[in-house]
């Protein structure tokens, strides 16, 4: 398991070093600095093996987090743990940077003591950790209080404490999808997928059991008396059901129940959490289409024409639309004309950035630009024509994902499903939305 954990600043100075196992010595701290942080070449793998010791690193802004192991540990577990640790630290003191880490080093040591024991991850849930790692010393805790804490830290439902009360029982569901697209210059979809997340904010009293229903084809089919057979592709969109390739759930969801009955039931943590993530690849309604036209005019010039088409209901409005058109490295000047929005050449990014605040559905906008280039003699530094990328936000789920219901049951307290106020919102965002040119 994890033998030690180090945090470095960008210079390679150690900010935190916590060793869990005897086989990791002080020299490991230096080995990582010398071989990775100070390496002459860019490090080409997040896992490096130096002198029979393995180093796993993750970088956040200019802070290096590094886990060290001598044994054949689960690499996926180590990285998942590092992410989790970052999440915990962020929720305790905000952004990960050198100042915050130095300011909170005692807290971090205390957290590390709790998060890992002998290199084995323990309870890493922020909500629960906050009940007993407070940086206040021990308040005069009563016996009941400590038992409640320990039960919760180790308990079956480690992610929720007992005795939560709200005057107004309320919950918010955000369906956030990011659409990823790779399109050829000719408009052929090379690959497209939606990765969606359902984020939930719950303010519910007691220990509520929730049931969540979606328009997943498999789920719906099995509901209708089962045996409807394999969910083979095609036609998913028409019937109002979508084919979800894969979905993953927060640890509160009872997975075995999902496997057998295709029902999503859980007792939610208090506050905000990510209930599920999913992925679809079929019948995605791509909100935008980019049509590029690049023509090189001689050695020192280029003409670029880009058409952006919006492809959704005219009544809806897309926001924060941004198109980035890469330009060659030796660009000397750009003249841009666009129908709507603002387009500017950003020399620092080597791109024309075209921003459109709002754009309705079924519209078509165009930009044309003339690019002047220095006639470069340096052949080796050739331009590789990076893809045109897009950013946007649309108020619907491009995969067709729909929340069908979310029912809340709390048998011990006297509120019913009808008393809970529920909010659902759909947001479609761009992931890597790229068109080659």
């Amino acid at each position: 398991m994890i033998g030690g954990l180090f945090i470095y600043n960008h210079k390679g100075e150690v900010l935190i070093s916590r060793v869990y196992r005897d086989d990791i010595g002080r020299e490991a701290v230096d080995a990582f600095r010398v071989n990775v942080i100070h390496a002459r070449q860019q490090v080409r793998s997040p896992v490096s093996s130096i002198g029979r010791t393995s180093f796993f690193h993750v970088k956040r802004s200019n802070i290096w987090l590094c886990a060290v192991a001598k044994k054949n540990v689960s690499a996926s577990l180590v990285f998942q743990f590092l992410y989790k640790m970052i999440e915990v630290m962020v929720s305790y003191f905000g952004k990960i940077n050198e100042e915050n880490i130095k300011n909170n080093f005692v807290l971090i040591y205390e957290l590390l003591d709790e998060l890992l024991d002998y290199g084995y991850p323990q309870n890493t849930d922020t909500g629960v950790l906050k009940t007993y790692i407070t940086q206040q010393g021990v308040r005069a805790q009563t016996k009941e209080e400590t038992t409640r804490i320990t039960n919760q830290v180790t308990g079956q439902i480690a992610w929720r404490r007992e005795g939560i009360k709200y005057r107004r029982n309320e919950l918010f569901l955000d369906v956030i999808e990011s659409v990823n697209l790779l399109m050829s210059p000719q408009g052929q979809v090379l690959s497209a997928h939606v990765s969606g997340r359902v984020r939930m904010k719950s303010y519910l009293s007691g220990m509520p059991e929730c049931k969540f229903g979606i328009n997943d084809k498999v789920v719906v089919d099995s509901r209708r008396g089962g045996g409807a057979g394999e969910a083979s592709g095609g036609g998913g969109g028409k019937s109002g059901h979508i084919a979800i390739d894969d979905c993953q759930f927060h640890q509160c969801v009872k997975l075995s129940k999902f496997d057998t009955e295709h029902s999503i039931s859980f007792i939610p943590p208090d506050g905000e959490f990510e209930l599920m993530t999913y992925r679809t690849t079929k019948d995605i309604s791509l909100p935008f289409r980019v049509i590029p036209l690049v023509r090189e005019t001689g050695r020192s010039g280029m003409e670029v024409k880009v058409v952006v088409k919006s492809n959704f209901k005219p009544s809806l409005l897309a926001q924060k639309v941004e198109v980035r058109i890469p330009t060659p490295l030796n660009t000397s000047g750009v003249q841009v004309v666009c129908m709507k929005g603002r387009a500017r050449y950003k020399a620092s990014d080597n791109a024309i950035v075209w921003k459109i605040k709002r754009m309705g559905g079924m519209k078509e906008l165009q930009l044309s630009a003339e690019i002047d280039m220095l006639s470069s003699t340096d052949k080796a530094k050739k331009w590789t024509r990076p893809p045109i990328s897009m950013n946007f936000e649309v108020p619907f789920a491009p995969s067709g994902f729909k929340v069908r219901y979310l029912k809340v049951f709390e048998s011990k307290l006297n509120y019913s499903d009808h008393d809970v106020i529920k909010w659902v919102r759909y947001i479609g965002k761009s992931g890597f939305y790229e068109t080659r040119c």
């Binding site: 398991m1 070093s17 005897d22 860019q42 793998s45 896992v47 093996s49 993750v58 044994k71 054949n72 689960s74 690499a75 996926s76 577990l77 990285f79 998942q80 992410y83 100042e99 130095k102 300011n103 909170n104 080093f105 040591y109 003591d113 024991d117 002998y118 084995y120 991850p121 323990q122 309870n123 890493t124 010393g137 021990v138 016996k143 400590t146 038992t147 320990t150 039960n151 830290v153 180790t154 308990g155 790779l182 050829s184 090379l190 690959s191 990765s195 390739d245 894969d246 993953q248 759930f249 640890q251 997975l255 075995s256 999902f258 990510e274 599920m276 992925r279 590789t384 990076p386 790229e434």
Partner: protein, 955 residues
């Protein structure tokens, strides 16, 4: 709060000040001081001199301060063991504190203080904490057992902590269970005594309970449990199936570690199921989506996932064959993700999707990163070799890329085009002209060597081949050896093709190679060519311009038993490195190798095929492996035509030779092969034109070395001890003259209760040999092949080694001599017969041991006149080493007696057909005398023979 100020103190005299502050009366001041100490400790300053002062602060009732002091203690206790004792009392008291958080803190810390004096004090509090009423304390105590085991394993066993730990598996609290599982797994891997190891193995019942607990555990707990479950191999197919059903839901967990551990368990269990059944197919289907989903997580996880997918695709290509598109590279992917995706892309390429792949690869070849571009270009070449229908398109793509004139692209393209030429000879030579245009830009040895090979190979079609080669010759001394060798061969080829105008050139190169070069390989090759050309140009032609073996399609495949081992480590570091844990982990743990379980034959199969071996060793990879996939030569050996001397030594198996654990045996047997082959070709085939140029040997030997390695590893995983014992040398069974070019050497082995026949088949004929099959005549012990002979077609001059598992349930007929075995081997040319002697010791079973009294009474029961006594000669063995040596061949020493410097060993062995043989081995001053007793006197000569062989083998 601004703790950052503690980092800034670098003044002189600071330690002194700290000391004063630590002893201050004011609590807050003491706390500040401890914080400063910890900060100094973090940045690597030595603050160990403050030890007593810090320990004084330990009694504080402030939990935060207590934690800091404990942190300090963990760091420095080892350097100050005598002072650390001062802390013991506080620890023991804290273990009884009413606050469970403090109890847990104490027990957690105390296990990290690795000082013997303190360890002794730990046992009682730990025992209490393991039975604490609070689950938080229990889960911490469970881990503490693992800590203690690391410090003093025997103490843990003596104190009965293992039993207590096992009890915790039934705890009502899921986290306690999870930590107990983690601790048990870790202790199990390094258990010192057998009793402990036995206690810590996972039973079916226990695994069942753990799988039930899965649901309630935290994500990390689920990983611990799944990893533990992966170590258990169910005995029946039904059990495996139900385990899979219960693990499958984990594939939908948000934590990638849970998903990969679940994949590992499922991949392993799938081996136990009937291949192709509906259940297997539906399970395989379920695996693909979660694996693809991992590719939309963070980059580091993507990387780990991709490395694992690379293994999974090799093991079960069907899982991801429809998911090609998710491996398309994104512009923003980090380079390590890009390179891995490219690797998998090639593995998934088939005729159906080649168009898409090729378009992508072309795109990649214009990227910025040099490594990535090179790999993309190489991938295009691989596509051409893999999918014949697309070869033409690939070649034209490569030509387009050459036109870009980007230096490294051109060089890479030339290297792969050479491979394409080798795969499809006489098809794409029209492009040679274009290649020659780029001659000047080549500055990498591999590209130069490839280009020279092309020129030499197609010298008759390149008008100015002589000029081109001459231009290379000018800088001969500065070239790398690989280029020099290639240049030498190319010029000789040119000379043989156009002898009239190139005589001068060939003389020049020969003198360069023989007189000015100091590389022995180069010099030897030069001399051989010289001699060949001067004595028999016709023979030289036959040798140098001989037809080359085709190169095969799949590249960079992992060797099957290694792949099997790595599949057992999915998700872990081994799967990221693609190396077995022993290659990067120290210690005993590393020596244990995991292997995929093999399926026990079902009833139907057992009755259907009479030869189904009932005692298939569960962990033996070698037999489990599919017909050995021929490991592909790496690029450097691809350069070479037949005459290329492989510089890398290890031949194609560079992936394997890296293993530091490689025992000395393979290299030995490799050397033996060399000698054997060399002798054959010199003596056996001396008559006609030398069809077998001696300089070929290294390359060939390298190839068979790989097989030998594979064997050894297969054997290792079964019984590590077998390797230490006696391994006979290969015997010649079928000489090439009698086998119409097929030469068979072999030996009998017994590895882990499995009787095996090792066959080394060599093709000395001029054509390919294929369609191998083997049959045994009825024999004294009912030996018969347990499997059909698995041997890939053999190209001319190629050698392959295969292991044929045997069983003893065949038809019995007494042979004369007793151990004679008549074998028939068929290939595409004819059927060949030979007979060999089975060394009797391979027939000794593992059950040959017996009780002393039984031995004595049996000895007495057998009439004295059936005793046979022989002298075995003198050896330097000690009685112990003899006994060990014989033990490895299943000769069991029952008792030992020493009278007046004469050692008597009483031994027993049992043949596979139940015949008991008792032996008395007398060692008197180095002279060995063997007396045998058995009810079947016929076996005596065989047994004596085997004793002799075994004793001689390691003298």
């Amino acid at each position: 709060m601004t703790d950052s100020k503690y980092f800034t103190t670098t003044r002189k005299g600071e330690i002194f000040e700290l000391k004063a502050e630590l002893n201050s009366d004011r609590k807050d001041k003491r706390k500040e001081a401890v914080k400063k100490v910890i900060a100094s400790m973090t940045v690597g300053k030595d603050v160990s001199t403050l030890f007593p002062d810090v320990v004084n602060c330990m009694q504080a009732d402030n939990l935060e301060l207590k934690k800091l002091v404990y942190l300090y203690l963990m760091n420095y206790a080892k350097t100050q063991p005598d002072k650390a004792i001062m802390a013991v009392n506080t620890f023991v008291r804290d273990c009884e504190d009413p606050n469970p958080l403090i109890r847990a803190l104490a027990v957690r810390t105390i296990g990290c203080i690795r000082v013997d004096e303190i360890t002794a004090y730990l046992c009682d509090p730990l025992r209490k904490c393991l039975k604490d009423e609070d689950p938080y304390v229990r889960k911490t105590a469970a881990v503490c057992v693992a800590k203690l085991h690391d410090i003093d394993p025997l103490l843990v066993e003596e104190q009965g902590f293992l039993d207590m730990l096992k009890d915790l598996l039934a705890d009502s609290n899921p986290m306690v269970v999870a930590n107990a599982v983690a601790a048990m797994t870790e202790i199990g891997e390094s258990a010192q005594t057998e009793a402990a190891a036995r206690m810590l193995t996972w039973s079916g019942h226990l695994v069942n309970k753990l799988l039930t607990a899965l649901n309630e555990c935290t994500e990390w707990g689920q990983v611990f449990i799944l990893d533990a479950v992966a170590n258990y191999t169910p005995s029946e197919e039904n059990e495996a199936q139900s385990m899979i059903e219960r693990v499958c839901p984990r594939l939908a967990h948000a934590n990638a570690a849970v998903v990969l551990s679940a994949v590992k368990v499922i991949m392993k269990l799938l081996e136990l199921l009937t291949p192709g059944s509906d259940f297997v197919q539906s399970t395989v289907k379920k695996l693909s989506a979660p694996l693809v989903t991992l590719l939309s997580s963070e980059h580091e996880i993507q990387y780990v996932a991709l490395r694992n997918i690379n293994l999974i695709v090799q093991k079960r290509p069907e899982i991801l064959k429809h998911e090609l598109k998710v491996f398309f590279v994104k512009y923003n992917d980090p380079i390590y993700v890009k390179l891995e995706k490219l690797d998998i892309l090639i593995r998934l390429t088939s005729a159906a999707n080649i168009a898409n792949v090729l378009a992508e690869l072309k795109e990649y070849a214009t990227e910025v990163d040099v490594d990535f571009v090179r790999k993309a270009v190489r991938a295009i070449g691989r596509c051409a070799i893999k999918v014949e229908s697309a070869a033409e398109r690939c070649v034209s793509t490569l030509l387009d890329l050459i036109q870009t004139k980007v230096n490294y692209v051109v060089q890479e393209a030339i290297v792969v085009i050479k491979d394409i030429f080798r795969k499809y000879p006489n098809k794409y030579e029209s492009v040679i002209g274009t290649l020659c245009e780029n001659l000047d830009t080549l500055d990498e040895p591999e590209a130069r060597a490839s280009m020279i090979w092309i020129i030499g190979e197609y010298a008759e079609r390149i008008d100015n081949a002589d000029e081109l080669l001459e231009s290379f010759l000018d800088g001969f001394a500065d070239e790398q050896t690989s280029v020099q060798l290639q240049l030498l061969t190319a010029v000789v080829k040119l000379f043989l093709k156009r002898p009239t105008d190139t005589q001068e050139l060939v003389q020049r190169v020969l003198s360069l190679a023989t007189q000015e070069a100091d590389n022995p390989d180069l010099r030897d090759r030069g001399y051989i060519y010289w001699r060949l050309l001067s004595t028999d140009p016709a023979a030289a032609k036959q040798v140098v311009l001989a037809e080359k073996p085709l190169i095969s399609e799949e590249t960079d495949l992992l060797e099957p038993s290694l792949l099997g081992e790595l599949v057992c480590h999915i998700g872990s570091l081994a799967s990221v490195y693609h190396r077995p844990p022993s290659a990067f982990v120290d210690g005993r743990v590393a020596a244990q190798r995991k292997g995929l379980p093999s399926r026990a034959p079902t009833l139907a199969e057992a009755t259907g095929a009479a030869d189904a071996g009932a005692e298939v060793v569960p962990t033996d990879n070698a037999q489990n492996a599919k017909p050995a996939v021929s490991v592909i030569p790496t690029q450097d050996s691809l350069i070479g035509d037949l005459l290329d001397i492989d510089m890398s030594g290890g031949g194609g198996g560079s992936g394997i030779t890296q293993q530091s654990a490689a025992p000395a045996v393979p290299s030995q047997s490799n050397a033996m092969d060399l000698l054997g082959d060399g002798l054959d070709s010199l003596l056996g085939l001396g008559g006609p034109a030398p069809q077998q140029p001696p300089q070929q040997q290294p390359a060939v030997g390298g190839g068979s070395g790989v097989d030998a390695l594979a064997d050894i590893f297969g054997g290792l995983s079964a019984t590590p001890s077998a390797q230490a014992g006696f391994t006979p040398q290969l015997e010649s069974w079928l000489p090439a003259q009698r086998g119409k070019g097929m030469q068979i050497d072999g030996r009998f082995l017994r590895r882990g209760a499995q009787l095996q026949m090792e066959l080394q088949v060599r093709n000395n004929a001029m054509q390919q040999l294929s369609g191998f099959a083997i049959q045994f005549n009825k024999n004294s012990f009912g030996l018969a092949p347990a499997q059909p002979l698995s041997l890939n077609p053999l190209a001319p001059m190629q050698t392959a080694t295969t292991l044929l598992p045997l069983h003893t349930k065949g038809q019995v007929q007494k042979m004369e001599p007793l151990l004679n075995l008549q074998v028939a081997v068929k290939n595409n040319i004819d059927v060949f017969y030979f007979s060999c002697l089975v060394p009797i010791h391979v027939l000794f079973t593992e059950e040959g041991g017996m009780d002393k009294r039984v031995f004595l009474s049996t000895w007495k029961d057998i009439p004295a006149d059936s005793e046979s006594q022989t002298s075995l000669g003198s050896y330097s063995h000690s009685p112990d080493s003899v006994s060990n040596l014989l033990q490895s061949c299943n000769v069991f020493t029952i008792a030992r007696r020493s009278v007046d410097g004469i050692e008597m060993l009483y031994q027993s062995m049992k043949l596979c057909n139940g015949i008991l043989v008792l032996a008395e081995l007398k060692i008197s001053g180095g002279a060995f005398t063997l007396s045998l007793k058995s009810r079947h006197a016929e076996v005596y000569s065989g047994v004596q023979e085997s004793y002799l062989k075994i004793l001689k083998s390691s003298n």
